[in-house]
């Protein structure tokens, strides 16, 4: 698979949110306005790229029995770096993301890519995979953010649109569920693929929760 294909795979073919439906919590919670959606997307992309690089670098010296704890420590380190950097240089954004900033550590996308891709591939391929998946996540969350902010508050990235009566429900919690439902159904029409598979099957720990031979819990 060429590098471009790996990159596009993350953005379109296996878009973590619209296709695999993992990492939903930050997507729904941080998409109230497009600005914080973009901040969350870029923060997660940074962590994803760094953790993919480091996991790929040390993949030969980490025994497979303890790989998951090792991944978690690596991810937590980069999340702490991001958390403190953002608090220092973008305090307003850090306040609006709140608890979801440290919670990037349990974002399923990051652990899933470390386990499924970076642990088995070389440095360059892992970098492109991390970048593609990160941009795919950013794309979905920013789309949702723009949609919710436009309809719910009548602004885009804080710039007001005239002649528009906003429907406040879209920036309230129910709006997040409505927005992601609309996005996914549009995506289903475009790609002509239906998602009947539970998001749990796409999680990094699916093999532990769904032992072989058993299709479901």
């Amino acid at each position: 698979m060429s590098l471009i294909k790996i990159l596009l795979n993350g953005i379109f073919t296996e878009n973590p949110i619209l296709m695999l439906m993992i990492g939903l919590c930050p997507t729904l919670a941080c998409s109230g306005d497009a600005g914080s959606a973009l901040g969350m997307g870029l923060a997660a992309t940074f962590v994803l790229v760094c953790s993919n690089l480091l996991v790929s670098m040390i993949r030969r010296i980490v025994p497979s029995e303890i790989r998951i704890p090792v991944f978690i420590v690596i991810i937590a380190t980069f999340v702490t770096i991001t958390d403190y950097t953002m608090q220092a240089y973008f305090p307003q954004l850090a306040t609006s993301l709140g608890v979801f900033l440290p919670l990037i550590v349990v974002n399923c996308i990051i652990l899933a890519r470390a386990e499924a891709f970076a642990y088995r591939n070389n440095l360059i391929r892992s970098f492109f995979d991390g970048l593609g998946m990160g941009l795919g996540f950013t794309l979905a969350i920013v789309l949702l953010g723009i949609m919710r902010e436009t309809i719910g508050a009548g602004t885009i990235f804080g710039y007001p649109l005239n002649h528009f009566e906003p429907a406040a429900i879209m920036i309230l919690p129910p709006g997040a569920f409505i927005g992601i439902g609309i996005l996914i159904s549009i995506w289903q029409i475009i790609t002509k693929k239906k998602k009947e598979v539970s998001p749990c099957h796409n999680c990094a720990l699916a093999k532990i929760c769904y032992p072989e031979g058993k299709g479901e819990l």
Partner: protein, 196 residues
């Protein structure tokens, strides 16, 4: 500290700021295992059990280890490691001494290690500056809210499977729209007992 305040914390966590429908934490497992009623019951039991245990331990670790040693910046790392190893220990202990409980909850335990709800509550307890009793009440409230939402939602989903709906929203979009309606209903609780 008085009883009224504790009751306020409990109901605020249980319904007004419901962790799933209002704060969007723990959604993966909410959508993942809510397709059958029995799975929801198992998951709720495991979440209540692990959440109370994990919150107590991380609260103690934070206040008696990280704060005195000035290691607050290691919070994220230490919390996730404590929770992950705690779940492993609980699993081993249950396998040995509490077979019946293990059969009921065992398969849900690994799911919980990376469930953001557990870690989020550990963080929120610290961010809200709760003392130990307030922390316990808040945690039980949040865990109860999780169970309430997932059990109600799974009973809706069992009926949705048979619903005649347009083709393009069949599957997960329909599930999200249902969650939106439930979230809307829970918004109605805002202001209950004067709480927000």
């Amino acid at each position: 500290m008085n009883i009224t305040e504790l009751v306020g914390i409990f109901f605020s966590a249980l319904i007004i700021n419901n962790i799933i429908l209002m704060r969007f934490i723990g959604l993966c497992s909410f959508f993942g295992v809510s397709d059958k009623m029995e799975n929801s019951f198992g998951m709720s039991g495991a979440v209540i059990f692990v959440m109370v245990l994990a919150s107590s331990v991380t609260w103690l670790v934070y206040h008696y280890l990280l704060l005195p040693l000035g290691l607050v910046f290691l919070r994220t790392l230490i919390f996730i490691l404590v929770i992950a190893s705690l779940v492993q220990l609980v699993e081993l202990f249950m396998k040995k001494y509490l077979i019946a409980l293990y059969r009921a909850l065992g398969i849900y335990l690994p799911l919980i290690t990376t469930n953001c709800a557990i870690l989020a509550v550990a963080f929120l307890n610290i961010d809200y500056n709760y003392n130990f009793v307030q922390m316990l009440v808040y945690t039980v409230g949040v865990a109860g809210g999780y169970s309430l939402a997932i059990i109600l939602f799974s009973s809706l989903r069992e009926r949705l499977k048979l619903a005649p709906v347009p083709d393009f929203i069949r599957g997960y979009p329909l599930v999200f729209f249902t969650a939106a309606l439930m979230s809307l209903a829970f918004m109605g609780f805002s202001g209950l007992f004067g709480l927000h």
